[in-house]
């Protein structure tokens, strides 16, 4: 639709570099169908599904900080097999790639889930980085051999592109990303949320029922830019940038840092216009490219690195 916006990530051709980030809006199948009609959305990443259904944590699960959200949803999801069934109902006629986010806790789960989900997925994002669920997410991600095993199992069970989503809450995120790439990930999604928490001064208690949660939104944008920038210099795989993209500048910043595509989460809820934020950002990126004399967004990937 907008030829200059096309990018390719790990073999997936995207009509726009902008994706919906995992878990935001929960990506119910009907929402996926609606979102997919937006020409400025290049792909949808589903919410993370686990092997068994999870009801998630008790409320409160989200805190609005204005400049970001704190969340500890606890990965509520109907479990991979019911979700596969639901995704099946939207897959047909979907014009954009559907990337299924999975949160297996071991290799066996990973294998079984991916084999089952393969028929409805155009790609997988392995969530190695949820900061608030035990035995999943960060725990998995920072245990290098476990993370490696899971990514290998996913890789072995599908021919489709595999993204590994990494955490910013570790000393050496480069090692984690490298580890995932060596295990077979085609691309790295960076970043998941940053660990944080909020205390209500009247209640004198942590707000989130899980006490700790993950910080997303504007607040973490500089952290995301930095991690994408460093990964671009240190790993070979393409990078999908994520974290605090609220306007076209934020998106361009991540792309200049080295991201091939960009995911958007919190901004959907924080912007006054909801999903139209994709169009605002898309238009902004196009205006920017035109102004700077580029014909394709591909030309600016990683450009902040070159000595010009």
């Amino acid at each position: 639709m907008h030829p200059g916006m096309e990018v390719e990530v790990a073999g997936l051709v995207l009509r726009s570099p902008l994706m919906v980030a995992s878990g935001v809006l929960g990506s119910s199948p009907s929402l996926i169908r609606i979102i997919a009609t937006n020409p400025d959305v290049g792909a949808v990443v589903t919410k993370t599904v686990t092997y068994l259904p999870r009801t998630g944590y008790e409320n409160p699960t989200v805190v609005d900080l204005g400049y970001g959200f704190l969340n500890a949803m606890g990965l509520p999801n109907p479990g991979y097999s019911e979700y596969r069934f639901e995704l099946g109902s939207v897959k047909k006629g979907l014009e954009i790639p559907l990337i299924v986010s999975i949160g297996p806790s071991d290799e066996d789960e990973a294998e079984e889930m991916v084999e089952e989900l393969d028929s409805v997925a155009d790609g997988f994002e392995v969530n190695l980085s949820c900061p608030h669920v035990e035995n999943l997410g960060v725990e998995v991600g920072s245990d290098a051999s476990k993370a490696s095993g899971i990514v290998k199992a996913v890789r072995g069970s599908t021919g489709k592109p595999v993204l590994a989503k990494i955490s910013p809450n570790v000393t050496d995120f480069v090692a984690n990303a490298r580890n995932a790439v060596e295990a077979g990930a085609d691309a790295i999604t960076a970043i998941n949320t940053v660990r944080g928490m909020a205390i209500d001064v009247n209640a004198m208690r942590p707000v989130l029922s899980n006490v700790y949660g993950g910080l997303s939104g504007k607040a973490i944008h500089p952290v995301a830019v930095r991690i994408v920038f460093e990964l671009y210099e240190k790993i070979k795989a393409p990078i999908v940038g994520c974290g605090g993209v609220y306007d076209w500048r934020d998106a361009v910043e991540l792309i200049l840092a080295g991201a091939t595509a960009v995911q958007i989460g919190s901004a959907i809820a924080h912007s006054q216009t909801g999903l139209k934020v994709f169009n605002e950002i898309g238009e902004g990126v196009r205006r920017y490219l035109a102004l700077k004399g580029f014909s394709s967004v591909k030309q600016i990937i990683g450009l902040a690195h070159s000595e010009r």
Binding site: S28, P53, G66, E86, A198, S209
Partner: protein, 269 residues
């Protein structure tokens, strides 16, 4: 980007038993709260959870919440004693549009009678012709009628077993009433199966109908997606909870909802 980070502290002034399953908390707020009729609050007790509630009365620093004990959190809240605290964030969502022209018929089933009271009072205060129907299974299950009487509200009662007022369901009573009087607007809160019947009748009759929907509300902020109404992709917490009936008829409204794990389950009430 309007931060809702902070909870408002509220102290229970009294706890009124409406029925064996429903209580009304009269709260004293630490500051005034501006909330439009039909908007909701997230009501939190640390350790006990947090749930969405549409207030049943708002007057300066007094706020009433009428709560049915359906599970852990609601039961804990409904059992609070004077002096205990709750913490409120909000208001959230879109309330009822009370500025449409014409007469209003309000239909409240169960705690819906309570939740509709702020709308009723607002309409009456503005001199809009308004009729209020409240209903329940039986006389013992009627909610908020004492308070409505105290407020001098003109309302009519229906009970399934006829133990008070009209004998029959609220949709039946609605048909009865609307065969005699014409109302340009219907507002309803109650069991979803009841609301869907009323909304269907309204569409048939060309009457504007606004319903207030319940889904699993987690964030209340439009970010988590747990309250989505399929296949429309509407978020009850920010696009609702009040919807125009004709906009959502034919969707999962009255038929399916999602449980806490996001599984699609049938609407049972």
């Amino acid at each position: 980007m309007n931060a809702s980070h902070y909870y408002l502290e509220a102290t229970v002034a009294s706890n009124i038993s409406e029925t064996s399953r429903v209580n009304t908390l009269v709260l004293r707020l630490s500051e005034e709260l501006k909330i439009a009729p039909g908007q909701f609050l997230m009501v939190w007790r640390p350790g006990d959870g947090e749930i969405p509630i549409t207030p049943s009365l708002t007057m300066g620093e007094t706020l009433c919440l009428t709560i049915e004990k359906v599970g852990f959190t609601s039961s804990r809240l409904a059992s609070l004693k004077p002096g205990e605290k709750v913490f409120l964030r909000g208001p959230y969502g879109n309330g009822f549009n009370l500025s449409l022209p014409g007469r209003y018929l309000l239909i409240g089933g169960g705690t819906g009678a309570a939740s509709l009271t702020p709308s009723y009072l607002s309409l009456v205060r503005r001199g809009v012709e308004t009729l209020f129907l409240v209903g329940a299974r039986n006389r013992e299950s009627l909610v908020y009628v004492r308070r409505l009487r105290e407020l001098g509200a003109g309302f009519q009662v229906a009970t399934d077993d006829g133990s008070e007022g009209f004998k029959g369901t609220l949709p039946e009573f609605f048909m009865e009433v609307s065969s005699r009087n014409r109302f340009e607007n219907v507002l309803t809160i109650g069991p979803e199966r009841m609301m869907v019947k009323i909304a269907e009748k309204c569409v048939e009759q060309g009457v504007s109908c606004q319903v207030s929907l319940v889904r699993i509300v987690r964030c209340g902020l439009g970010v988590c997606g747990s309250c989505v109404l399929d296949p429309l992709g509407l978020r009850v917490c920010v696009d609702g909870p009040v919807f125009h009936g004709e906009k959502i008829l034919g969707s999962d409204f009255g038929r399916f909802m999602r449980d806490e794990a996001g599984r699609r389950v049938e609407v049972v009430q």
